[in-house]
Amino acid sequence: MNALRAEIGKLLTLPSLWITALLTLAVTLLLRALDLPGSVLVHTQAGLLVFGVLAATHEYQGGGQIRTTLLALPRRLPLAMNKALALTIVAAPLAATTALLGGDTSAALPLTASMLLAAGIGGLLRQAVAGVGVVLTAYLIACPLLRARWPASDPWLPDTALLDQAQGLPGALVWTAATLGAAAFALHSRDA
């Protein structure tokens, strides 16, 4: 319980996460006001994905906070679980608010899943810029191209859930669970 509270505390006190969250909400509102064609969430999910990557990579930035964390909590799998849980608790309200401002409240769940997936990639790569590059390229460029080329791949792409929940949510949840699992395994087996 203490470990979970500590992880939530770390997430809530990071300036970069606050800036990302507030920028995402502000841009969502702004785009809503401009009345763009299509859902604005397709664009502003980028901010939430960056949030997920930063939440996972911040401990690996200069200074290597992760080693202090591991000194306090040497058991790595419970640590990974606590991190995922803490991020879910922080990410769900943010995703819900973004979805509300974006005008599609049902998007809260897919957005939360995407944030956790981004965190999984961040945990695997341990590098914020690389993580952001990979996640955004996958969500905004690779997936739409794959969908256009092979429409049958639709239920298996992680970003489908945002567009069509019934079709894409199971796939998105599988992706999220698999990435988080891989990140936990990497944390368990790699040198910090």
Binding site: L36, P37, G63, V129, G133, L136, A148
Partner: protein, 249 residues
């Protein structure tokens, strides 16, 4: 000259730069092959508004590699050199060796522009050759001036990424802004549906240099497009240069 040489070697020594180089080189030709059946059908049905755009369109997405190169040129200097020395960055060493900041920025920009121009030329030739090979006479032979314009677009986008990263001193912001904008349905493109002025945003106006059938509310000639985009990049580079000159490293 030795400064440009040093910057070239620094850039080519970065693993991330090679990711950008290889990604940029492969993405556009791969897209040509992937989209070939759909393109062939569209050409046969006559729904392609300008057949000469067919090969060039893929270059607009491959430009992602050039963007990554522009970002890492700067962000590599600002990354902490080691876990135990979070305050030590390569930039301090660079500035010790080359204290005149404007010259340093110019050398970095020259090295970046050189690499991206070579990358852009190779990619454009490969992409267009593949297009001709796959579609034959259905697609008119590409005009050399348009290939040059496409390469100029790549170089300018890389310099744009370079300038934004210098201003933000953070690769994440640049990558987010530029990837959101080069997405399949680009954000700038959507903005043009709201206000025609958005057609003059740097990334979308630049594409007019080598694409003819962009669906925007205003008509922009290739020459105007090139000048507007160059002006954007020059303005951002000037701002970046001013800030780099005035701020503590």
């Amino acid at each position: 000259m030795s400064l440009v040489h040093a910057e070239l070697r620094k850039l080519l020594g970065l693993p991330t730069a090679w990711v950008g180089l290889v990604l940029g080189l492969l993405a556009a030709p791969a897209l040509v092959v992937l989209n070939a059946p759909a393109t062939r059908r569209a050409l046969a049905d006559g729904i392609v508004s300008d057949a000469s755009d067919v090969g060039f369109q893929n270059l607009g997405i491959g430009v992602l590699g050039a963007m990554i190169l522009g970002v890492v040129t700067v962000s590599s200097e600002y990354t902490a050199t080691g876990d135990d020395t979070p305050g030590a960055r390569q930039l301090t060493a660079t500035l010790t060796a080359a204290p005149r900041r404007t010259r340093l920025l110019a050398a970095k920009a020259a090295a970046l522009a050189l690499i991206v121009a070579v990358q852009g030329t190779l990619t454009a030739i490969a992409t267009l050759a593949l297009t001709t090979h796959l579609h034959g006479t259905a697609v008119p032979a590409p005009h050399p001036v348009r290939i040059g314009a496409a390469v100029l677009y790549w170089t300018l986008i890389a310099l744009l990424a370079y300038a934004i990263t210098l201003i933000a001193r953070n690769g994440i912001i640049t990558l987010t802004v530029l990837i959101v904008n080069s997405a399949v349905v680009s954000f700038s493109y959507l903005l043009t549906k709201v206000t025609p002025i958005a057609a003059y945003l740097p990334d979308i106006v630049g594409a007019h240099m080598f694409l003819r059938s962009i669906d925007v509310p205003v008509h922009i000639s290739p020459l105007t497009a090139g000048m507007v985009m160059t002006a954007w990049v020059a303005a951002l580079l000037a701002l970046a240069g001013y800030l780099f000159h005035r701020r503590d490293a």
